[in-house]
Symmetry: C2
Subunit: 420 residues, 2 copies
């Protein structure tokens, strides 16, 4: 190819960032990549922006991109699931390259495109952690390695909310509202705060790192809406930040993945990734522990990753990603949290001896306590806050169910895992 | 290519790491990369290790690798400058791919290989920051971006020494000795502690990021041997770590590069990169501020990056790097530190009024002070320690030359830049 003709699908935030970069860097990119880049057509059903100067045809018909034989690469930035899936499938069938930022489609339907991902025909760096080139890092830079674990902060909205609760002492609801006002959270924030978005991203990293099928349905998700500003304050007093994590771990021939808020020790670099920033820590056999951080979202930052994929298409005829085959012997299981310490908060009626009764009950259930303190609240109430030594989910479940019988306890008992 | 025949030059630490990875992952890598990898010949003048099971021919003649028409890729891990340069040149002339970890050869002679770097025939991910895929990050992941600055901790030996001085309160000499005993520093540590090694790496990052010729001779270097444990202690009391930095900054159409130890605020993630770890912070127009950290040296970590380059050769026929052309209008100049705050330490005879005389003298020279304190030492001496507001190198030079005339001052005056 001496030139690449691009068809752009969508005119939302990321697409506008792509058009802006293209406007500013068309010549520089063409020089760097050794071929001319042209946006020949833009298609969007719902919106129309000023495309003057772009020299591209506009259409409200997405399928016109697929049918246009002059188009080499379709950049799918319409978002959502079904329409994007159809567009990507149709484009690949027409032997076009596809670049997408669509984490949902890749996480849920990536297995339909295994061959195209292996060959580099379908690329999706922008789908995970915005500007951070984490898929290139895992798939190319660390190709020699087996991965012990990947621990990421990959949902900027959740991280913004928890960071804001920490910085301002604000409640979850106030912080969510602020995130929405600043444009960091959708009107329907469920995808973000319930961990779905992070689970999409974790699914993609897991597939590339471990050479497994995309297994979104195996990722356990726990949201952040039950975290209170008191929890953040108490955790901080014990030396921890509360962070929205996406974690996949390998243990022998099993891998397990989970999205959950967790306490992270202050001396770990992950604990200091604040606001809408994303970060990923990767543990590997040869490269050791690598850490990547940067903007996980935003128009230009995400579009920067889209351009990176475009660059790989321009400069390569093969795929920079390793093939996804080769390790089918691994079993994707559900997380076994048997070694997880827990933060527990019991809100109680502050009666004499309650502290002793709770700690004794834990002890009798075989849960040992690493650190514990009591905070007296108004209205004759108190919070008893602790970090346990590592214990299995089952033991903690049983214990909390017993302790929950104590009449002084105002349920629900708060329980947050500690990152080991 | 259905298979890649590798000729390995050298049998030192990194080469042994490469052989170890190859022994463990040959099949997995062949599966991932879609072609068979074979080490067919190993050449080393000085050493011979047990190559049993590798199935490779051994030779003490490096040029036999170049002459062997069966070899597709030569992995140059002999180190040093002249012999490695000759081997790389000869191999490229024979149209072989070359992968090297040799930062000195690339930094000093990279301009001779511009075409081969552009085409991906010559690759050197392992030359900078060990396991961290920073060249891929800058060159591929961030291809859309212009770079405001790159700030790295890229010499593990220097970082180990300063970290050890900070943790243990040890002197520079003790920490250097300890680094040598642990194998983190060479018997002749000049390359590391004088900033030469970091300057090699900075030269390479600068060339790829800014599309400029390799300009090692334009990098100013300042070593770390003048840093004392007191400086580290005092900086810490004011909220800073002292870190061995390699910095390139763009200002308009000029870029300037410098290796130097500097104070870094504790709330910057760079300040927390300790021991032999490396880290690079990249500021860019679209991707924002990206941060990468990981092991910067070590047998397996460095070999992991070598394998990454081998993977790119296997999976690509073109180059994943952007071309180096296209921005020749930039001028590579020497660093203008006009906006740099400075840490200053004056060791003085503790006479009445000396604190006032020094601070007045600074004030008269137009240097304003952000923070200052006096530490009384034994023997009637004291240290006056301060951080200035930003001032030009020239103003600081003039000022220190004036203040240095005060009879109470026991020279030399310590002066360390503060990272802005």
């Amino acid at each position: 190819m001496e030139s690449i003709n691009i068809g752009l699908a969508g005119l939302g935030t990321v697409a506008q960032g792509f058009i802006e970069i293209f406007g500013q860097k068309k010549q520089a990119l063409s020089d760097k990549l050794g071929m001319e880049l042209k946006i020949v057509k833009v298609a969007s059903r719902s919106q129309k922006v000023d495309l003057e100067g772009l020299g591209a045809v506009f259409s409200t018909d997405l399928s016109s991109l697929v049918e246009d034989s002059a188009i080499d690469v379709i950049i799918e930035l319409i978002g959502g699931e079904q329409d994007a899936l159809e567009l990507i499938s149709a484009a690949l069938k027409q032997n076009k390259h596809v670049v997408t930022a669509n984490k949902e489609v890749i996480a849920k339907h990536g297995n339909s495109f295994k061959g195209e991902i292996d060959s580099g025909q379908l690329r999706f760096e922008a789908a995970v952690a915005g500007a951070i080139p984490i898929l290139q890092g895992i798939g190319v830079g660390m190709v020699a390695n087996d991965f012990g674990s990947i621990t990421g902060i990959v949902n900027g909205t959740s991280n913004y909310i928890l960071s804001n609760m920490s910085r301002e002492g604000a409640s979850f609801e106030e912080s969510l509202k602020q995130a929405q006002e600043l444009g960091f959270a959708e009107a329907d924030p469920g995808f973000d705060i319930d961990g779905i978005d992070a689970a999409h991203k974790l699914t993609i990293m897991m597939a590339l790192a471990y050479g497994q099928p995309f297994s979104f349905d195996k990722v356990i998700t726990e949201g952040i809406s039950h975290i209170t500003s008191s929890d953040i304050q108490y955790a901080s007093e014990m030396g921890f930040a509360i962070k929205p994590l996406a974690v996949v771990r390998r243990s022998g021939d099993e891998i397990a993945a989970m999205v959950y808020p967790a306490l992270v020790e202050f001396d770990r670099i992950l604990s200091q990734v604040n606001g809408v920033m994303n970060a990923i820590e990767v543990e590997s056999d040869y490269a050791g522990r690598l850490f990547f951080s940067g903007p996980g979202a935003g128009s230009l930052a995400t579009a920067s990753a889209v351009v990176s994929d475009l660059g790989l298409i321009a400069r390569n005829q093969g795929s920079a990603y390793p093939r996804l085959m080769g390790m089918e012997k691994l079993r994707i299981t559900y997380p076994d949290q048997s070694t997880s310490s827990c933060y527990l908060r019991f809100d109680v009626v502050d009666e004499k001896g309650i502290f002793a009764r709770i700690t004794s009950a834990l002890s009798e259930s075989g849960i040992s306590i690493d650190e514990v303190f009591q905070k007296n609240l108004d209205g004759g109430r108190a919070s008893i806050v602790m970090i346990t030594h590592p214990a299995s989910d089952k033991d903690i479940d049983n214990c909390l169910s017993n302790v929950g019988e104590l009449s002084e306890i105002l349920k629900p008992i708060q329980r947050i895992r500690v990152l080991s």
